[in-house]
């Protein structure tokens, strides 16, 4: 997978790791250029996903209900990776089973209108 052409005017940098190809109206990874689906949809649906025990990232110091780490029965870390380069694009701290967030919907028509 080749690196994306970040100088291309039709490429909108949306986050540290995400861009939208405004002509194609599709998400892509800023690290490797991997296609991440339609811009109107949630890029997370095109990611590799894992939910992690928060204690893997925040090590507990003691046993019991209050350990200096999030409670793994209440909280999971849901990680979204680019399938092309495995960059961690986004992480959500969610109760187990809670729907993931559709966090960004860019109004491409408005952007094109402004640019014109």
């Amino acid at each position: 997978m080749s690196k994306p052409d970040t100088e291309r005017p039709s490429l909108l940098e949306v986050t540290e790791y995400l861009a939208i190809d405004l002509d194609a109206r599709r998400w892509q990874c800023r690290c490797c250029g991997h296609d991440l689906g339609e811009a109107a949809s949630n890029y997370k649906f095109a990611c590799l996903v894992a939910d992690r025990d928060p204690r893997e990232v925040h090590p507990p110091v003691i046993d019991g209900p209050y350990t200096f780490a999030p409670d793994p029965d209440w909280c999971r870390i849901v990680e979204f990776y680019c399938p092309g380069c495995l960059t961690l694009i986004e992480a959500e701290y969610l109760p187990p089973g809670h729907p993931v967030t559709h966090d960004i919907e860019i109004d491409i028509d408005s952007l094109k209108k402004k640019s014109a």
Partner: protein, 688 residues
């Protein structure tokens, strides 16, 4: 009760200008706005200095204060903080007084009047926040208003400390004054001061002295504004006020117009109702469209019988804090900002509870707005020229412990511990780490009291006060760490304390763009200790941070019993020698941990920001723990291994979500959540 709901909902937006004001703004000469607007800021600054120096509560020194100047119609012109919360909400009681008292012959609005209020139902935050309000007349004409506000750490509630985690209704929360006139002809009424003293009998000296400090601040500003008007003319003053509102309004509009239109969403979770551990959801949708912002908190959990509820005015004011501090920090802090911003808060949610709800802990609820708006604003700004202001901001906890008792001088005291309040970490940014122990999330202008000041005023000795390892969110850029803080009771047979900190089971932050949240912190007490004797004997094994304190009983480094609990705690009584921890959260990281410069990881290790296990297992960096040198080859191999492990464990979304949707938190976690998973009301709230 004469609630004016429409006024409360619209009160933080500027009222339409008069033609006279517009003409006066137009008539300002070159340089008038630039010079005189700074004069007004300096006048407000002088007022705040007067209040800080006259008052005695530590909160007057530690940031929960403001002095603001408002138009004759009650719109914010400028403010010096403290916290912007009070500057914004200060508009509502002024507008209430104008609307309901001006033509009421039993009250009226006249030169020399002094008003006072602390009732959150009238548009404030919670009843510890008390405000003095004075009109400014020039030649018999009402020209302006002045408001000075500060948090008072005792309200005469069912438990000490103003913020009362055990409260179930407003009736547990003590003195709540609707806007009342406490002075006429520049004289305060002794009978009304006596009334307040009677309400606040746990700390009467603090109450009366601090009321006078607020009023003195208002009066100093009143005198300066009158003098300025005498010199420059009332027309210039009216034009100046209007111009300051216009500049903010047009600046906000033009700036937002350059953002990419779109919809940005975020959700965080609170882990307590104030009474018991349970999850509450806080959701936000930010819409950017044609130079305007729409902020909607639909999806937040229903109100409940616990103490962690708020009114909509609290949530709107917390939005203003973030908006003034992040994207619009370079504009005059005037009400013009709100002209292009709509904020919707769902009624019946714990963000806008019914009027009988307990709300004295509402800043803890409002604090959820910090990570919520910090994240969605960052996502809206990333593609704009304001990328350098992208920041996940702070933890939502934003509080401290309150201590009450008789001090070593025999005086009754009740106050927040100002250092913890000013010791939260600030989130990482797109090009740099966050700030360690940065300050007070409600306003970065606070001042943490010196250790010596606290130890001379309160029957407390600091066991430790230091930056706390492993509390930041990890990432390409890491968040700032919080502080590890513990006190020993000394000089008094006992003290009572409460704590309205939170995030002991679930961190209310996500970090940004793959960055991790900060850690969670427990509440810790140690009872029946021999700490004072060990300190006197020079014992070198006394705990020096929360981690060592948590295992002190097991390791026999202290006598006594270690109690681990949630940071939110109702009243607890400690005897002399007992220990109380009051530590603060760090903040979220930014970007993928595997992209962090290995040399920065080694430096974090050297500075005790992180431990060796985090360097190896989270960052994938192999560091010599003696010399803090990175093993480049081993690090590259470790990171490659971790990256491959991601691919081996992760699944395509469609496959992953099938197993994910079958999961559910324990029943206790969902007891007050609302319906699962969409957090709709699912029961009637009962308040007695």
């Amino acid at each position: 009760m004469a609630l004016d709901v429409a006024l409360i909902e619209s009160g933080i937006k500027p009222v339409p200008p008069t033609q006279e004001e517009l003409d006066a703004a137009e008539a300002l000469q070159v340089g008038d706005y630039e010079i005189f607007s700074e004069n007004l800021v300096l006048i407000a600054q002088e007022g705040k200095e007067v209040m800080t120096k006259m008052g005695i509560s530590s909160m007057l020194h530690s940031g929960d204060t403001m002095v603001g100047i408002y138009t004759a119609a009650g719109d914010l012109v400028t403010t010096v903080c403290g916290t912007l919360l009070h500057s914004v909400t200060g508009q509502i009681p002024i507008k209430y007084i104008i609307k309901h008292f001006t033509d009421d012959p039993s009250v009226g609005v006249r030169e020399g009047d002094v008003y006072y209020t602390n009732e959150a139902l009238y548009g404030g935050i919670h009843n510890p926040d008390q405000f003095a309000i004075m009109p400014v007349f020039v030649d018999g004409e009402l020209l302006a208003w002045v408001v000075s506000g500060a948090h008072q750490s005792e309200t005469g509630g069912s438990e000490p400390g103003g913020e009362i985690p055990a409260a179930t209704t407003r009736h547990d929360e003590g003195m709540k004054l609707t806007p009342i006139k406490i002075g006429e002809n520049y004289r305060l009424r002794t009978d009304l001061l006596n009334m307040m003293e009677n309400f606040i009998s746990r700390a009467p000296r603090m109450q009366v002295t601090d009321v006078k400090a607020r009023v003195a601040a208002c009066d100093r500003v009143r005198q300066r504004v009158q003098a300025m008007a005498a010199r420059r003319g009332t027309a210039t003053m009216k034009g100046l006020f209007r111009k300051m509102i216009q500049e903010t309004s047009s600046g906000v509009h033009q700036r937002v117009a350059r953002w990419v239109d779109g919809t940005y969403r975020h959700t965080v979770f609170m882990d307590t109702t104030g009474h018991e551990d349970s999850l509450l959801r806080a959701s936000v949708t930010l819409t950017v469209k044609d130079g305007k912002l729409s902020i909607d908190f639909e999806g937040s959990s229903p109100e409940h019988e616990g103490s962690y509820n708020a009114f909509a005015s609290v949530i709107r004011a917390h939005c203003a804090v973030i908006l003034f501090e992040l994207p619009f920090n370079d504009f005059p802090m005037s009400s013009g900002m709100m002209e292009h911003i709509e904020i919707a808060v769902p009624k019946g949610s714990f963000f806008d509870a019914g009027p009988e709800a307990a709300i004295s802990c509402s800043p803890l609820v409002g604090g959820m707005v910090f990570p919520l708006l910090g994240v969605v604003l960052s996502k809206a700004m990333y593609s704009s020229e304001q990328r350098d202001q992208v920041c996940g901001y702070t933890s939502s906890s934003a509080s401290a412990v309150m201590v009450s008792g008789t001090n070593q001088h025999g005086v009754r005291v009740t106050d927040f511990m100002g250092y913890p309040l000013n010791a939260y970490g600030l989130g990482a940014r797109c090009d740099q780490d966050g700030v360690d122990v940065f300050g007070f999330p409600h306003g970065p202008w606070g001042k943490a009291p010196d250790v010596e000041d606290i130890e001379s005023e309160f029957p407390l000795l600091h066991l430790y006060q230091r930056q706390m390892t492993d509390t930041c969110g990890y990432g390409k850029y890491r968040g700032g760490v919080g502080a590890s803080i513990a006190y020993i009771v000394r000089g008094s047979p006992y003290v009572a304390f409460t704590s309205s900190q939170k995030e002991s089971k679930f961190p209310a932050h996500n970090g940004l763009f793959g960055g991790y949240s900060m850690s969670t912190l427990p509440g810790i007490q140690v009872r029946g200790t021999d700490a004072l004797a060990r300190m006197a004997a020079g014992d070198p094994n006394i705990p020096t941070d929360d981690y060592e304190l948590a295992v002190a009983e097991a390791n026999k480094t202290l006598g006594g019993e270690v109690i681990m609990e949630h940071q939110t705690r109702g009243i607890r009584v400690l005897a002399e020698g007992d220990i109380l921890a009051a530590s603060t959260q760090g903040s979220g990281g930014y970007g993928d941990v595997l992209e962090r410069d290995p040399a920065s990881v080694a430096e974090d290790l050297r500075k005790e920001v992180i431990t060796l296990g985090v360097a190896r297992d989270v960052y994938g960096v192999i560091v010599d723990p003696q010399r803090f040198l990175v093993d480049e080859e081993a690090t590259a191999a470790r990171r490659q291994e971790m990256r491959q492990a991601r691919g081996a464990k992760a699944k395509p979304y469609g496959e992953w979500v099938k197993s994910w949707e079958a999961k559910r938190p324990p029943d206790q976690a969902l007891k007050w959540f609302g319906t699962w998973p969409d957090a709709k009301p699912n029961r009637d709230v009962v308040r007695i």
